[in-house]
């Protein structure tokens, strides 16, 4: 623990920052407030992804042809103006970049925060406002990332898709792959748990975005928490309906 009193800088006659000039975005990202901007912006990008991912997957209720056709459509986004899969790859790379940014900012802010209180309170805290969601952001985030790795290995690369089943993974047969995967109850359960944690993460994160970006206005402040909870609820209900539908047999081959 550092116990020295912060040193006094010369008191100038005007408010002048003493930081070294850096390129604009690096300069912003070097501060805690700037990193929160990065968290918020990358969060918005990934919120867009989870929403459209959920909406796209509801095609499975319309049958195999619809879902497999939707996957084909994604590959042909903006085709023939853009080459096949080019737009999809741009989206994939951007999202991975956003995820990396989100994780790096979260990591460095966590390190900063740990340094800011090296000696913890020796008695129990009695939190007044901090919620389960806000207190568990790191845990829920880590579980969601672990789930994403599994999810990609399962339904994108097919590596773990056939474990415990006697089917054959064919990349373009999205519908069959989903049904085969969720027919294994531990996979369905993991999917449900991970999505509930994603919902918890979103319920705090989607509200937090407004504060971090300085979007504060009496005209919409009352709606900020409702928006975050509503968004989280829609994504979670949509997502967990898929494994449940397969488990109870609404969706089957």
């Amino acid at each position: 623990m550092s116990t020295s009193t912060p040193t006094r800088q010369p008191v100038t006659a005007t408010a002048v920052g003493t930081r070294k000039r850096r390129p604009l975005l690096l300069d912003l990202y070097s501060t805690a407030v700037g990193k929160k901007y990065a968290m918020a912006i990358s969060g918005i990008a990934m919120m867009g992804f989870v929403m459209f991912h959920m909406l796209g997957n509801t095609k499975m209720y319309l049958g195999a042809a619809e879902l497999d056709g939707y996957a084909e459509f994604l590959k042909k986004l903006l085709y023939p103006l853009a080459p096949k899969e080019s737009v999809l790859w741009i989206l994939r790379v951007s999202l991975l970049g956003m995820l990396a940014l989100h994780l790096h900012a979260a990591w460095s802010l966590t390190v900063l925060n740990r340094h800011a209180r090296p000696v913890r309170y020796q008695s129990a805290r009695d939190y007044q406002e901090a919620s389960l969601a806000s207190r568990s952001m790191r845990l829920s985030g880590i579980v969601v990332v672990m789930f994403m790795v599994w999810h990609l290995l399962d339904l994108t690369f097919g590596v773990v898709n056939t474990i415990g089943t006697d089917g054959v993974y064919v990349r373009s047969e999205v519908y069959a792959n989903v049904v085969r995967s969720f027919d294994r109850w531990p996979v369905a359960l993991f999917y449900v748990v991970a999505n509930l944690l994603l919902g918890l993460h979103l319920a705090h994160g989607a509200w937090s975005i407004f504060q971090s970006l300085g979007w504060n206005n009496p005209r919409f402040n009352a709606w900020r928490v409702a928006f975050a909870r509503g968004f989280a609820a829609i994504v979670v209900i949509g997502n967990i309906s898929f494994p449940i539908a397969v488990t109870v047999g609404i969706v089957s081959v």
């Binding site: 006094r8 408010a15 340094h115 209180r117 020796q122 300085g214």
Partner: protein
């Protein structure tokens, strides 16, 4: 009617200087009037300790009417204790019941080193204010009232932010030891008023950069606002974030910089 609160068990943090490890010390208050303030209860305990030739418990206090921002105790896991919108000195023993156990700790943050027992050094707040929490102008006589028009809601919002007494409860209550509510309040107070406009963005940049050297970062738990004796709203943090962004993206010539 005065009532007595009896058989209180106090677990008080004792730490003999910054380098000491420190530990909790238990004292029993057999009975005390519920009209006593929390600090008066500690005074009574200290009188007893002095009478027993023991060292008195060191704690910060000054005005004892909730405006100086000196008292600073973590009481049962809450900054300034269980009563909302008040400082430790405004807390009275009527907030406690017979046989209660009361745990008292100092603020804990890297930027607030413990001087002794329950007293911490909050000079880091002074460093932040020195970096921009003022208006640079030749002063002279006070101008006439209403010479500079300020819309009423703006004046109210600035005044609400100006209520900050710099006690440090926001930092103490924050799970991340962030000072965003304090800095946000100081910025909002000046940045909303016409007098603060000339240095608005310089101020935002300088104060946020100084904050960064000492404190953690905001994760929007809202604990700071709940602990704040002046109940300053999280809105001030949003304004700080917005002004900091503006400071970075504004045409620098308009900020009289290159």
């Amino acid at each position: 009617m005065t009532h007595l609160v009896s058989n209180l068990t106090l677990k008080v943090w004792r730490q003999n200087g910054p380098a000491d490890k420190g530990k909790f010390e238990t004292h029993v208050i057999e009975s005390i009037t519920d009209e006593a303030s929390f600090l008066e209860m500690l005074d009574v305990l200290n009188e007893r300790l002095i009478g027993e030739n023991k060292e008195a418990i060191v704690f910060d206090h000054d005005c004892r009417e909730g405006i100086c921002g000196t008292c600073s105790l973590m009481i049962n896991g809450q900054a300034h204790g269980p009563q909302r919108g008040s400082t430790t000195c405004q807390l009275h023993m009527r907030s406690f019941k017979d046989d209660d156990t009361i745990v008292i700790e100092p603020w804990r943050a890297n930027a607030f080193p413990i001087i002794k027992d329950l007293m911490v050094d909050r000079a880091a707040f002074d460093r932040i204010v020195e970096s921009g929490g003022f208006i640079t102008s030749p002063t002279g006589g006070a101008p006439d009232a209403n010479l500079i028009p300020v819309p009423k809601p703006v004046a109210d919002a600035a005044m609400d932010a100006a209520a900050c007494i710099g006690c440090g409860a926001c930092v103490a209550a924050c799970p991340n030891s962030a000072a965003n509510l304090f800095v946000g309040a100081k910025l909002t107070h000046l940045n909303l008023l016409p007098q603060g406009q000339a240095e608005r963005y310089k101020r935002a940049e300088a104060m946020v950069d100084t904050m960064d050297e000492h404190f953690g970062s905001c994760t929007n738990h809202g604990e700071c606002s709940a602990a704040c004796p002046k109940e300053i709203s999280l809105d001030v943090i949003a304004l700080m974030n917005k002004d900091y962004r503006s400071a970075k993206f504004k045409n620098r010539k308009q900020l009289s910089r290159k």
